[in-house]
């Protein structure tokens, strides 16, 4: 069941090929099926009853990071992730989604996260802000979460973390599209966050995206506002609540995660953090709005081998410019990039670097 709006996007493509060179999945797999326009064409053929929606097609819809690089560069305003997400819903409804994906969906339904483990707690009391840690950080990058909390303490910010932090719904939304099940999960999260009446600082930009873009559309806004942890930290630096470190004499490049780059258009805060941590900055090819994704926690969950290659591609981008230090401030990019750190290279958590 693909919506009219999604179909409209699938059929708008002019086959200009501009997005072809931007898709990180296409880069690594080399498969024509993994160009955004091919996925649109497939869905259009299904709609015209020229092709069946089958297991192979469902598989193709999951070979995508929902990174939005294609949308960003499409002259026709065509948004492949819109229909790719809906095609994932169709795959789940028709029981055609890959088994690895269904396994992750079961995990999320049981535990709130793709890892299928009880989320480690970071609970603490505070009065200034509520920090939302998120599933990926809590399970796969707990040090980054601890570093953010220590940094806030250092800046004199009284930060609360919920003892039992509900899942935001972003993982389930990426796995099976925006369905009522995801909206219900989001409603529980929004209610818990709103009960604190505190402004929310979100560590993982993937969570921040669903909270700012989808929650209001679904009828539950975070009343006291949502800020990304990077923007909040940069503000603390600008206000002098955190001090800059002495230059390290090391050059690093910031990896812009795709949601920060393309949903929030947020590039400066991470760079301000990197400079304050003492790094000299250089830039990789495809940074800022054109940032190339290095993978996501969800995609890693069902295609770890491909995500490792995609993350490897980002390390190649770094070494190609003669740099060996990758600077990140997102737990999901941390998780993916740490899968394959090349010898002699370093992955730096900017929250930790500022301590």
């Amino acid at each position: 069941m693909i919506s009219q709006n999604a179909l409209h996007h699938a059929e708008k493509c002019r086959f200009c090929w501009m997005c072809r060179h931007l898709c990180p999945v296409q880069h690594q797999t080399g498969k024509e099926l993994n160009t955004p326009r091919a996925k649109g064409l497939l869905l259009s053929m299904v709609h015209k009853e020229a092709q069946q929606f089958d297991k192979d097609m469902a598989q193709a819809m999951y070979e995508c990071l929902l990174c939005d690089a294609c949308t960003n560069d499409c002259a026709t305003g065509y948004q492949p992730p819109l229909f790719i997400r809906e095609a994932r819903t169709e795959a789940v409804v028709s029981e055609l989604a890959p088994e690895s994906v269904m396994h992750l969906i079961d995990n999320v339904e049981r535990t709130g996260n793709i890892y299928g483990v009880e989320k480690p707690g970071f609970g603490r009391e505070g009065t200034d802000v509520l920090v939302y840690i998120g599933e990926a950080a809590a399970v796969k990058a707990p040090e980054m979460a601890e570093n953010l909390l220590k940094l806030l303490e250092k800046a004199g910010v009284s930060a609360k973390v919920l003892e039992k932090e509900p899942a935001s719904g972003v993982m389930l939304g990426d796995l099976m599209g925006y369905t009522e099940e995801v909206r219900q999960m989001a409603a529980v999260c929004a209610k818990a966050l709103n009960e604190t009446k505190l402004p929310v600082v979100v560590l993982d930009s993937y969570d921040a995206e669903i909270m700012t873009q989808k929650y209001p559309e679904w009828g539950f806004e975070i009343a006291a506002g949502v800020t990304t942890a990077t923007a909040f930290t940069a503000k603390l630096l600008a206000e002098g609540k955190l001090e800059a470190k002495a230059p390290l004499g090391v050059t690093g490049a910031c990896h812009d995660d795709d949601r920060l780059a393309r949903t929030f258009h947020e590039f400066e805060p991470v760079r301000r953090m990197a400079k304050a941590a003492g790094y000299d900055l250089t830039e990789m090819f495809n940074h800022g709005k054109l940032a190339k994704s290095c993978g996501t926690a969800v995609a890693w969950g069902y295609m770890p081998e491909l995500v490792t290659r995609i993350a490897g591609g980002r390390w190649t981008d770094l070494t190609r410019i003669g740099c060996d230090t990758m600077l990140v401030a997102n737990p999901e990019t941390w998780q993916c990039l740490s899968l394959c750190v090349p010898e002699g290279c370093r992955l730096v958590d900017l929250f930790g670097a500022l301590l």
């Binding site: 069941m1 009219q4 709006n5 409209h8 409804v93 369905t179 009522e180 099940e181 679904w218």
Partner: protein, 258 residues
């Protein structure tokens, strides 16, 4: 609340639409979505119906609406009915209400009929009242909230100057404002269930309507000319006094509020 019927309309997504030589909106090939106020009415109906009630969605339009109607079944509607007939093209609000009323009568008894307060393409807001008149039922317009108890309904209406609370009995027709009730999304189980529910299709003959009661022929109003204006442009005096400016702005905002 046992049996609820919701009238829904597919409207263009874009504000840039074309009209044909008879000033009818060209709907072929354009991207359509369910009118926001109608979506709100559907959510209100689903909440009132609960587990034991039933919600029928009724629309009038081209046969292409079968698939979007299925999406409403996936969101929780129990029955979907599409009235489609070339002879109905170009209907004004009265002819539309006549057709909808004939369908409501054919489809059975309903405790409540909900509509959106107006569609974003025509912006008339006339159909709910005309439908109620055609069915001989009372009508409450611009409902914002709607609650049912064993003795009847409590409706909060949005007015230009505030809100009004009313008590009402069923059956009745109520039009709801957009965004009062954000419509739930289709769920996985709902989508699986919707696959097995056929969309019922009706035409003028099924409804016992004559050609002169439908479409352009059955319409009392004729659009003679159309003129496009720059959207958002409003001519008015330039106000330099802050207090007077704030007052004028308040007036403008009240004007567009519902």
């Amino acid at each position: 609340m046992k049996r609820i019927l919701v009238c829904v309309k597919a409207v263009p997504v874009s504000a840039f639409v074309e009209v044909d030589s008879q000033h009818r909106l060209k709907r072929d090939g354009i991207n359509l979505q369910w009118n926001a106020a109608d979506a709100s009415a559907l959510e209100a109906a689903l909440r009132l119906a609960g587990e034991d009630g039933s919600v029928t969605v009724l629309t009038m339009g081209t046969s292409k609406l079968e698939s979007p109607l299925r999406e409403l079944l996936a969101r929780g509607a129990s029955r979907a009915v599409l009235i489609t007939d070339r002879r109905m093209a170009g209907a004004d609000t009265q002819a539309t209400a006549r057709v909808l009323a004939a369908a409501v009568k054919k489809l059975g008894d309903f405790d409540l009929i909900l509509c959106g307060c107006k569609a974003i393409d025509g912006e008339t807001g006339q159909v709910p009242g005309q439908l109620a008149a055609a069915l001989g039922l009372p009508c409450v317009s611009n409902g914002e909230t709607l609650e049912a108890d064993p003795d009847g309904l409590t409706i909060t209406r949005r007015l230009e100057t505030g809100t009004q609370e009313l008590r009402g009995r069923t059956p009745t027709v109520i039009s709801l404002c957009a965004y009062s009730y954000p419509l739930r999304l289709p769920g996985i189980l709902g989508m699986r269930r919707a696959r097995n529910i056929p969309v019922e299709v009706l035409n003028a003959d099924d409804l016992g309507l004559l050609p002169e009661q439908c479409g352009l022929k059955g319409s009392a109003t004729k659009v003679l000319a159309m003129e496009s204006r720059f959207p958002g442009m409003r001519r008015g005096p330039k106000e330099t006094d802050l207090t007077l400016g704030a007052k004028a702005l308040g007036q403008i905002l009240r004007e567009v509020r519902p």
